[in-house]
């Protein structure tokens, strides 16, 4: 039997049946059946972690040399270059220490914990030194301190408590809580404007989050249920917004009349988009929908006579409650109900409108999932060829998915127009489509609650970072990458099946196809 505690250069292993017998005996004795595996000393692991971090730092040096290290400035007579060696040094150090912390943080012994702690202390020390000198290094070092703290926490929680947490959530807590999460969230959403922290700014944020939730639910029909990879959803949003705006300003119709019209027009555009993409596979479908989104935006930008071009459409009427307006003065909402006029009333009204629209979207989606059309969508997502061989008309199924998804996008667009009072093509860029798609995917495709959570996290987080104006989008992009790498299946990784044989149970998200977009 090979001695597992000493590294041996040459060992003759028994073969065949004897090897199996000895392996089994070793397993019963609790010894590793395979030899040659040495326990690395702490020093060796530290050395390899340092080498790893060194390579990462060298790579960072190469990458950032001309982007952080040098900055081209516009001076009279051309461009001038400004060398920022301190910034480059800081960036390389951040990468070095960050990588060191992350490779030592997955440790299983306390000495790594000590290393991670030591590194964080060193980083914090550098941070404070630079602050004392007046260098504006805060952003980089806040990130590094966070990384160090995460490394420390992960180390502590991961080993001792992680197993028990996982067990508790898996067995009863989280699964059963899941069934209550829907009504709880709805109740919270309904009572939201009356909560003590709901001032105008928070209410505005709530309206924004609900708008994205509705868009996410609308896109969920196309991407999550039918599996059609749509990168141009913002086109329907734009069509809804502009059709509402133009109908309202040119024909003097109110919000409640124009809303369904905007939805119908957007659905119509959904069908028009659907026709060319019927035969296309996943990525071709993606690029054509992306192209459509861009086409709509370019047309809106350049068709000056109708859409006003870059000037946009302004003076869009606000919604009324059965004809009662939300303005100051006689005959308006505050006056009729005996309340003190406050601009918050209109915001609360807008909030309830979007909440109603979003809940309508959710209700319709849930009901449609149980109808044959919903089942056809999900069958299409899982396997289009099987679908066709069972006699489902894939053409009408796809077109229905596009048009209903587009209709809800149109509603959301109409709401957006009336909330802003002014729209321009600037609001309907590809980034919006990307954000909505990210919300749907991050929340977990096909999961309604997931879209809500992802929307709150992404849009809420985005708004919270408002002070860091410049770095906001950068952090947003990085967050998108990191969350997707951490949870590729979305934050909600379980799904509710639509059709059950006996008992309704939540299934894992990886059993649900993500759709090739056939």
């Amino acid at each position: 039997m090979a001695d597992a505690t000493q590294p041996t250069a040459v060992t003759v292993r028994p073969e065949g049946a004897q090897a199996k017998r000895e392996d089994r005996a070793a397993a019963l004795e609790g010894e590793l059946p395979f030899e040659g595996r040495r326990e690395e000393t702490f020093g060796q692991r530290l050395l390899s972690a340092l080498k790893d971090a060194g390579v990462a730092a060298l790579l960072a040096l190469v990458l950032f040399l001309f982007l952080i290290g040098a900055r081209t400035r516009i001076e009279t007579g051309g461009l001038d270059i400004e060398w920022r060696w301190e910034g480059l040094f800081v960036a390389v150090m951040v990468v070095f220490f960050g990588r060191l912390v992350f490779s030592t943080a997955w440790a299983k012994d306390r000495t790594r914990f000590a290393v991670a702690g030591g590194v964080t202390l060193v980083a914090a020390a550098i941070f404070f030194l630079l602050r004392l000198q007046g260098e504006p290094a805060q952003w980089w070092f806040a990130a590094l301190a966070t990384a160090g703290a995460v490394g420390l926490v992960r180390n502590r929680v991961g080993t001792r408590y992680g197993a028990s947490i996982r067990q508790a959530s898996g067995s009863l807590g989280l699964r059963r809580a899941f069934t209550f999460i829907g009504p709880v969230l709805i109740a919270f959403a309904i009572l939201f404007p009356f909560m003590p922290f709901a001032d105008r700014r928070v209410l505005d944020l709530g309206i924004l989050v609900m708008t994205y939730v509705m868009l996410g639910w609308g896109l969920n029909i196309v991407v999550g249920l039918a599996g059609l990879l749509d990168l141009g959803y913002v086109a329907f949003y734009a069509v809804g917004a502009y059709s509402f705006a133009l109908l309202a300003t040119n024909f003097d119709l109110g919000f409640w009349i124009c809303l369904p019209l905007a939805g119908i027009l957007a659905a119509f555009w959904g069908v028009i988009l659907g026709f060319p993409v019927l035969r296309l596979r996943g990525d071709y479908l993606a690029i054509v929908t992306l192209a459509f989104g861009e086409i709509i935006r370019v047309v809106l930008l350049n068709w000056y006579e109708v859409t006003g071009g870059p000037d946009g459409v302004s003076r869009i009427p606000k919604p009324t409650l059965f004809g009662i307006e939300f303005r100051r003065g006689e005959g308006n909402f505050a006056d009729l109900f005996g309340l003190e006029y406050s601009s918050v009333h209109r915001f609360i009204f807008l909030y309830y409108i979007i909440l109603g629209l979003a809940l309508l979207t959710n209700f319709v989606t849930m009901r449609l999932r149980r109808l044959p059309i919903g089942r056809a969508w999900e069958a299409l997502r899982e396997d289009e060829i099987a679908c066709r061989s069972l006699g489902i008309n894939t053409t009408t199924t796809k077109l229905t998915a596009f048009s209903i998804g587009a209709m809800f996008g149109g509603f959301a667009g109409a709401f957006f127009a009336t909330r802003q009072g002014f729209i321009s093509p600037e609001s309907f860029t590809f980034i919006e489509s990307a954000i909505i798609l990210a919300i749907v995917v991050l929340g977990g495709l096909g999961s309604q609650v997931g879209v809500v959570i992802a929307s709150v996290v992404m849009i809420g987080g985005f708004e919270l970072f408002r002070e860091f104006e410049e770095y906001r989008m950068l952090v947003f992009g990085l967050a998108m990458v990191l969350i997707m790498v951490w949870r590729p299946r979305g934050l909600i990784s379980s799904r509710e099946p639509s059709a059950v044989l006996k008992e309704k149970k939540m299934i894992g998200g990886d059993l649900v196809a993500q759709g090739e977009g056939h």
Partner: protein
């Protein structure tokens, strides 16, 4: 007639730039089946690095031709190296962890990387666009004629345009040779066809994929330098626009096919230039995308693409 020739030359030049970027898209798609949305922004990063090298060397139009050639060559090499490192990093960060996952996850990370790169350059280099003076001047007049209105016009091909077209032809030839003859090219084609079998046969699939990204990024950096010298101005947003057009070009030509990418690039360039030359300039993007949609209706795999055989 001269107008047509001039538009043709302009279209071919623009198409070459798109084609170089499109090759990156198509190579990556061919080997791992994923759209690398961040590729356009890698092109932009390449342009910025080339700009930084050019400005650091203090190059102006008044520099002698020897100094100009040497400095531009140096800018090209440095830009290619650093941009390749960026391409490699993007792959490691955004694609490799999601290698076994379904289609949408790498798409979202790619979009996230694209946003990150754009904003990183915006934050570190400033949001204003960076102009440089035209470094390569001069051209060759091809023909001269008179229009109906009695105005004399000539069709010229500028030195920069010649350089772009020649560079593209040379790079295309080199890449076709690499793909067809070298072991790396064989490994790439093997991974395209069946990655599992290729790894069973001893090909390092991870390394091949990384090298594909690196090559694509290198080509994009060449395109970036060409763009910088041709248009004379870069800003952090050129990556998105060029990326979408180049991706359209790759899809138009049939994604996964190298000559298709070049053909698609040339077509998109020509469509754009001819549309803006003969009709209106505002809707040139609409024209390019509409042509794409129409071609895809009749040829769902693009012009030179192989129709996907789906096994049931």
């Amino acid at each position: 007639m001269e107008y047509f020739i001039q538009q043709l030359i302009n279209g071919l030049t623009l198409g070459s730039i798109y084609g170089l970027i499109a090759i990156g898209y198509t190579m990556v798609y061919g080997i791992i089946g994923m759209i690398n949305f961040a590729h356009g922004d890698v092109f932009m990063v390449g342009a910025f690095i080339a700009l930084a090298v050019i400005v650091a060397l203090g190059l102006t139009a008044a520099s002698g031709i020897g100094m100009l050639a040497l400095a531009l060559f140096l800018a090209l090499v440095v830009s290619m190296l650093i941009t390749s490192a960026w391409g490699w990093t993007v792959e490691r960060m955004a694609y490799r962890p999601l290698r076994g996952s379904f289609r949408l996850a790498p798409l979202i990370t790619a979009i996230g990387m694209s946003i990150t790169l754009q904003n990183f350059v915006q934050v570190s280099q400033g949001a204003r666009n960076k102009p440089i003076e035209p470094l390569i001047r001069g051209g060759v007049e091809l023909s001269r004629g008179t229009t109906a209105g009695g105005v004399t016009i000539g069709a010229t091909i500028s030195t920069m345009q010649i350089i772009i077209i020649v560079t593209t032809i040379v790079l295309m030839t080199i890449f076709s040779l690499i793909i067809a003859k070298t072991p790396l090219g064989r490994a790439q084609r093997a991974c395209e066809q069946d990655a599992k079998m290729a790894s069973l046969l001893g090909i390092n699939v991870d390394r091949t994929i990384s090298l594909t990204f690196v090559m694509g990024a290198a080509l994009a950096s060449v395109a970036g330098l060409m763009f910088l010298l041709y248009y004379g101005v870069v800003d952090f947003y050129i990556g998105f626009l060029a990326g979408v057009k180049a991706f359209t070009a790759a899809v138009l030509g049939g994604i996964g096919s190298l000559p298709g990418a070049m053909l698609g690039g040339l077509l998109i360039g020509l469509i754009e230039v001819f549309w803006s030359g003969y009709f209106t300039i505002e809707y040139k993007d609409v024209a390019a995308f509409s042509i794409l949609a129409i071609v895809l209706i009749f040829l769902p795999s693009g012009l030179l693409g192989k129709p996907e055989v789906e096994k049931v």
